[in-house]
């Protein structure tokens, strides 16, 4: 056979194989409700609701859940990833920057891609990664050394691999990217290192940058007047959780992190825009449409990165497109997502850093005297753990740290490139000196801080009032995300290692399994061959449950 003929045949063969693979188009993600057997994007859909239309597992049979398979890793530390599931294949990340493809029905591994982050990597709070995004046949992962890597979903081989930011300056990526149209969009962490945050969109095929939104405006741009002098250059405002997207408005919503230095607001007078805000960006250009700032001149590290959850419904008798979120600062918010108008804000835990919100949602700040405790404490009333919303119950579900406070000490800090830039210290309020304080993750199997220092609540909040419809109390604090279903189940967990199915309408516990390791991600659900599964990560183990047959 002539060479050109062989080449033509090979090309045809390649095209054919490509057709058979998982082609996750933008349209498929847009219409994710049409294929609830898959989990195509970090939040389950662009709304970030983590609400699944699967209803095979129901209030009536949830007691029949049994373990189907386990995948164990050998990596120490918190495992916060949300897996994706596409047509029976699960795509998962594990520390520090591994991607795996698994058979979603059996847990057996097809391939394991490993990226070793550069020794220049600086991460404040652990080698976390929260998952991948998919477009067509390509997976995308952000890395601890601030790279964005595209992988072929069939082979696990690199398609492209680009620098997003300079890891030596403290930039890192821990979030799952968001695919919109033909772009993969990502932000960077590093708010404890005096970075200047941004959100950037890249061409899915080439990795070429399409637009970039800087989360701190520079001189001459609106908002720079909320900083003094050069403070804006090292002002933080990182982006470390995945945003959401409204296709009708063509707006993306991203939560922005703390200003730097974290705990010394005296060192950076002004509101410090767009730190501690949600920004609505034009998806095609990255231009700012509106913003809403939750905590101006924040001195408590109340990152506003929580996933903005998009909800359609009535407000005051009129139909509204809304964005809801429970903020790390202790307030629950409802905004109009077309305009950013403040509709409601109510505390969902004890709050004493502010006495309330004014008519525009701006907090009336009441900083505590030196040595006095601040509620909520530094880890916040809630944090990275993704919440959920059920259009059926009309309730918003979130993990909450209750009765938890810290005492801050502000200190002047000098910016040094690549070094931590936090501006002070804090300690947890405890009944006796030297008592252990709660921190990121649990250092061992014993809860030695006890409820005397704080405890967890799975809370269902009615967005119409901002009040708790029900509370499910846990002895230890909980960092678990949420999953809710069209069969009115709510799946969640906690640091104690219990994995729960609750009645989403009432909070009644219907089923639980003791998995033994902290649950610090949001469970997902999917189906293969018509059978529904629920997957959760506990400690170093990913466990998948299904109904007893």
């Amino acid at each position: 056979m002539k060479t050109w003929a062989r080449l033509a045949l090979s090309l045809l063969a390649l095209l054919h194989v490509g057709d058979l693979g998982a082609q996750v188009t933008f349209e498929r993600i847009l219409d994710s409700d049409a294929e609830p057997e898959n989990w195509l994007t970090f939040g389950g859909s662009y709304t970030g609701q983590r609400y699944s239309l699967l209803n095979g597992i129901s209030l009536d049979n949830v007691e029949d859940l049994e373990l189907k398979w386990i995948y164990q890793n050998r990596v120490a530390g918190l495992w916060e990833a949300t897996p994706l599931v596409v047509d029976g294949i699960m795509y998962l990340t594990q520390r520090p920057n591994d991607v795996l493809a698994l058979d979603a029905a059996t847990g057996r591994v097809f391939w394991n891609y490993r990226h070793r982050p550069s020794s220049d990597t600086r991460v404040c709070c652990g080698s976390n990664n929260r998952g991948v995004a998919i477009h067509g046949q390509t997976l995308f992962m952000g890395t601890l050394d601030a790279r964005l890597i595209a992988l072929d979903a069939t082979t696990g081989k690199e398609v492209w691999n680009i620098d997003v930011a300079d890891a030596r300056l403290g930039y890192s990526i821990t979030m799952a990217p968001l695919v919109v149209k033909d772009m993969v969009v990502i932000g960077t962490g590093g708010g404890e290192y005096g970075i200047r945050g941004f959100i950037a969109a890249y061409d899915v095929d080439t990795g070429e940058e399409i637009w970039r939104f800087k989360t701190i405006p520079e001189p001459g741009e609106p908002g720079n007047e909320t900083w003094e002098g050069d403070d804006w250059i090292y002002g933080g405002a990182s982006v470390w959780l995945t945003g959401s997207y409204d296709p009708e408005l063509n707006l993306m919503y991203w939560g922005i992190g703390n200003p730097g230095p974290d705990w010394n607001p005296d060192q950076r007078p002004g509101d410090n825009l767009y730190s501690e805000s949600v920004v609505a960006l034009d998806a095609d250009t990255g231009e700012l449409e509106w913003y809403f700032q939750f905590t101006p001149n924040d001195g408590y590290d109340y990152d506003a990165v929580q996933v903005p959850v998009l909800v359609d419904g009535e407000w005051g008798g009129e139909p509204r497109s809304m964005m809801i979120s429970a903020n790390r600062n202790g307030y629950f918010y409802v905004l109009d997502r077309a305009t950013g108008e403040f509709l409601l804000g109510r505390p969902f835990v004890k709050v004493n850093w502010a006495s309330g919100l004014d008519e525009n949602g701006r907090p009336v700040q009441t900083p505590q005297p030196p040595g006095e405790p601040t509620w909520p404490g530094n880890q916040g009333a809630t944090n990275w753990f993704p919440p959920a919303f059920s259009p059926r119950t009309g309730l918003f579900y979130v993990s909450v740290w209750d009765s938890y406070a810290v005492i801050y000490r502000r200190e002047a800090d000098e910016y040094v490139a690549g070094e931590l830039f936090t501006g002070g210290r804090f300690r947890t309020l405890a009944p006796v000196p030297d008592a252990p304080g709660i921190n990121v993750g649990r250092p061992g199997p014993i809860n030695n801080w006890t409820d005397a220092v704080g405890h967890g609540v799975t809370m269902a909040i009615d967005p119409q009032t901002g009040e708790a419809a029900w509370r499910f109390e846990q002895f230890d604090v909980t960092d678990s995300g949420m999953l809710t279903t069209a069969s009115d189940l709510l799946f969640t967990g906690g640091r104690e290692g219990y994995f729960y199915a609750l009645d989403a309408a009432t909070g009644e516990e219907l089923w639980r399994a003791n998995l033994g390791g902290s649950i610090v991600m949001a469970p997902i659900t999917y189906a293969v061959d018509g059978k529904q599964y629920v997957t959760v990560i506990s400690g170093n183990m990913m466990a998948t449950f299904g109904l007893r047959e």
């Binding site: 990596v75 120490a76 530390g77 520390r95 520090p96 982050p117 020794s119 990597t121 600086r122 991460v123 404040c124 709070c125 652990g126 080698s127 976390n128 601890l144 404890e192 000490r409 200190e411 800090d413 690549g418 070094e419 931590l420 936090t422 501006g423 002070g424 210290r425 804090f426 300690r427 947890t428 405890a430 009944p431 006796v432 000196p433 030297d434 008592a435 252990p436 304080g437 921190n439 990121v440 993750g441 649990r442 250092p443 061992g444 199997p445 014993i446 809860n447 030695n448 801080w449 006890t450 409820d451 005397a452 220092v453 109390e473 846990q474 002895f475 230890d476 906690g494 104690e496 219990y498």
Partner: protein
């Protein structure tokens, strides 16, 4: 060990607990002497660079307790320096390229037990303290040490490795005020009317683990209990009024000498 110093007729004044040593006073740990200024500087570096992950008490990472010398790859001061400079990326610890004086200060702070004011407590004779511990002070009625098993109270065989002098003094004088929440006494009444008393070892939403007043490990299911109460009153009596300041200092010296099996 910290130097044997006697400071204080005001030993019993609670306000003296916050006393800071004179400038220039050194802490001596494992043959190394750390200047107080370095320890104080180190505490500031620790707060801004390390506490985010390791916590203010140095014990927030699994398997690592900086205050008490439990460091995964840093059994010596040299290795501690290497761990700080080299990081441990798999575990999420970055490299810290601190200037030499800052690195010295940070190491001094960690090696000094993360205790800036560590010399302000009177420390007497360990031998006399042992006599008191086993005799007049009555400690062995409840506490065990070095394999001498007693009752309900925590074993103290390695208390000198886990606690500093200031903490021990506070516990002796004000046991309830110093009792860690996890150690609180538990009283449970079962549905069939039996009363179980003990000290809490661990607790979660559904269960509580205790050592009961007969020294047995028990795990109780809360749903099976008729009553469940956790008290904030320590069963330990204060030594104030029973022992004089020198005896307290001797007792502290003995407790600090209990370093566990090595």
């Amino acid at each position: 060990m910290r130097p044997l110093q006697w400071i204080s007729p005001s030993l019993f004044a609670l306000t003296a607990f916050s006393a800071v040593p004179e400038p220039g006073t050194a802490q001596v740990v494992q043959g190394h002497e750390y200047e107080v200024e370095a320890v104080e500087t180190g505490s500031q570096i620790y707060a801004s660079r390390c506490a985010v992950c390791h916590g203010s008490n140095g014990d927030q990472i699994a398997g690592v307790d900086l205050r008490h010398g439990q460091v995964t790859q840093a059994a010596s001061e040299t290795k501690l320096r290497q761990a700080i400079r080299g990081g441990n990326l798999d575990a999420g610890m970055p490299q810290f390229n601190l200037p030499p004086d800052q690195l010295d200060a940070l190491v001094a702070f960690i090696q000094a037990g993360m205790d800036v004011g560590g010399t302000a407590v009177g420390i007497g004779s360990p031998a006399q303290g042992m006599t008191l511990f086993e005799g007049e002070a009555g400690c062995t009625r409840c506490h065990s040490a070095n394999g001498r098993r007693a009752g309900l109270a925590p074993d103290l065989s390695d208390i000198g490795d886990r606690r500093d002098a200031e903490y021990l003094q506070r516990t002796l004088l004000d046991p309830s005020g110093a009792m860690l929440p996890i150690n609180r006494p538990v009283t449970a009444v079962t549905d069939d009317g039996r009363t179980i008393r003990g000290r809490r070892l661990n607790e979660d939403t559904y269960t509580v683990q205790i050592v009961d007043d007969e020294g047995r490990l028990r795990s109780l299911i809360k749903a099976d209990l008729h009553e469940f109460e956790v008290s904030t009153e320590s069963p330990m009596p204060s030594v104030e009024g029973r022992l004089n300041p020198r005896q307290v200092a001797d007792l502290i010296a003995y407790l600090l000498s209990l370093q566990g099996a090595r």
